[in-house]
Symmetry: C2
Subunit: 261 residues, 2 copies
């Protein structure tokens, strides 16, 4: 059973995990961050000590969770000088292998959600994707994950990076489409709010019948009259014309292929 | 007051409007479509007669609603040989001018929603965007719109086409991002369902704090390590690599500009 946790990193992911663990009755023993201010701030929220030096990590935790930028995971895990602790990173795109061949038991604890600093997240709805090299650790992580979320999955590192890429499309890229829509509306004295019912329905329908069947609009109809009109109008809006044509062509090609197939 | 309506066109938009008008106690007098099967089918649903010839349009309706493909609106409105009727098209991207200089009173009745044939829509949540050339007609249309939806707006043709373009980004392009995510997951033996909480949160957060502030992920962090990794992996998935790089670069450029400014 995992009860005592040390958080390595003090960014969004660590903060959200810290709160979720605390709410589930777990004990966050310590926070580490190289940036003292971040370490102190999160430790304050979680009512625990902090350190800025890996040498001072407290021994005896059931789990050391590394929630830092991907490129720093290797270096940090290399410098944990404790006696074979369970160490999980939280990255979507980093292979579990990066934790191997060190004096630690490697694991992954990946939350699939978009975390922003000042936005509260209902952790019970955050899917968690687990990986571990031995079954006992896997079971322990499953228990821990189940104590904060109702959606717990086991996938390997290859699937996980594909999931992360899919999530970039479904979340970051989707959000960028919403940003451009917002920008176009603002430039024409309209409010983003008027799009809300459309966005809600779009996402709902994609979930219900699948995004391929759910597609509508001038691109999937290959409505050249409207496509050209939009493209012409967008030439007054910087690179949005190129953007419009690029995605339109992608929609047309995907749907034509599938229909022909 | 508008009570009697003739529907010109028998596609998705006409079908959804017909049902909404009927539910609001309005009378659909007749359905027109050049395709007899479509005309008959919709007329059956609305329990009214149909015609395939514009010459046989019934006189005496309070509103003739043209819900056909944009390029056909001009031709159809030219061939309405009634005595100065109120005629509204339902297109996002067609100027009201297309209805001018004909023996009709021009108007626009544009529903901002993604309509699919077999998906029910709660019309009360569908924003309706109205335009008319005289105030009396405008008031009548407002009343009609208010009888089927709680979201009624008045905008001009220039704003409307920009709204339509913004909607293409927010709905069709967003849906295409979801399609690619779905495709990548399927190809790696995972289900689209696992993305639902992320998608729901993404859309909710964009609505709450605005999509610019809401952006997260490797592109907005300009995390070259992850961006290159994803790009490399996607080279095994056809044009998705190009797609990933294109949108990533757009996110980076928008966010750098804004930050510098």
């Amino acid at each position: 059973m995992i009860n005592k946790i040390v958080l390595i990193g003090a960014g969004n992911v660590s903060t959200h995990f810290g709160k979720a663990f605390m709410n589930a009755g777990k004990k966050v023993m310590q926070v580490f961050s190289r940036t003292e201010r971040s370490a102190r701030e999160l430790a304050g929220k979680l009512n625990c000590p902090y350190t800025t030096s890996l040498e001072n990590l407290l021994p005896g935790a059931d789990l050391y969770m590394i929630a830092v930028t991907d490129s720093a995971i290797d270096e940090i895990s290399k410098n944990i000088s404790l006696d074979n602790p369970l160490v999980a990173h939280t990255s979507g795109s980093t292979d579990i292998k990066v934790l191997e061949n060190k004096n630690i038991r490697p694991a992954v604890f990946y939350p699939l959600q978009t975390f922003s600093k000042d936005t509260e997240v209902n952790f019970n709805e955050v899917p968690l994707f687990l990986e571990a090299v031995n079954n006992k650790d896997h079971e322990k992580l499953k228990n821990l994950a189940g104590s904060i979320s109702s959606k717990v999955y086991s996938i390997d590192s290859k699937q996980r990076v594909m999931l992360h890429i899919a999530a970039v499309f479904a979340s970051n890229f989707t959000n960028h489409m919403l940003y451009i829509a917002d920008d176009l509306l603002k430039k024409n004295k309209m409010s983003f709010d008027i799009l809300q019912p459309l966005i809600t329905e779009t996402v709902k329908k994609a979930g219900l019948i699948g995004p391929f069947k759910a597609q509508t609009g001038p691109a999937v109809r290959n409505d050249k009259y409207i496509l050209e009109l939009h493209s012409d109008i967008l030439s007054a809006f910087g690179d949005y014309r190129k953007f419009y044509n690029f995605i339109t062509n992608s929609i047309i090609s995907k749907h034509c292929k599938k229909r022909e197939g």
